[in-house]
Symmetry: C2
Subunit: 108 residues, 2 copies
């Protein structure tokens, strides 16, 4: 596992941390808006329980997704790119082989 850690240069680590943080912030901002929207629209008890189910699912997804470790970062970034929380611009400066892997995985 140490081999993977060493593959990320200091400069790449900075870019990765920033990109990771940006994706998280964007997803949480979108989630916040969605929660406010759903709450505002509550009319009956089923709407409350649907909001609860929605939060259970989103919390589980987000907890699982935003685990910052270099062994998994290629896969994490591929998923974030696929879901639109990251753009190619956020990853600019990473080594070409990493970008190729991320882009390729994001299309699967």
């Amino acid at each position: 596992m140490a081999v993977y850690v060493e593959e990320w240069t200091g400069s790449e680590q900075s870019i990765a941390e920033k990109a990771f943080h940006s994706a998280y912030e964007r997803e949480i901002t979108a989630l916040t808006q969605e929660v406010k929207h759903r709450s505002h629209a509550i009319e009956q008890v089923e709407d409350i329980w649907r909001l609860h189910d929605f939060l259970s699912a989103r919390r589980h997804q987000i907890d699982g997704k935003y685990d910052y470790n270099y062994e998994m970062l290629i896969f994490t970034f591929a998923g974030l790119l696929k879901d639109g929380w990251l753009s190619a611009d956020d990853l600019e400066g990473l080594a070409r082989d990493k970008l190729a892997k991320i882009t390729s995985l994001s299309r699967m």
Copy 2:
């Protein structure tokens, strides 16, 4: 158990159903307001997860509490009275011994 069911007259059953329904409506209305208030006040991700925890707890409580069966109704009403979702007025018309039990239990 059949003995307990027979203890509630038709008139008492009507009063009980109406009271039960009123308590549920009041509690859900208050819950709706609380959810809207908490959602409106979301500023950071921890607020979202706190809302989720709050909903998990309230859903569990409400699911457990609003089980309409005559064997448990004295205890159910005592709890609702204690928590303020029912008033003595809602139970007017029930037999005196039931009211005494409900009131007594609600003070425990």
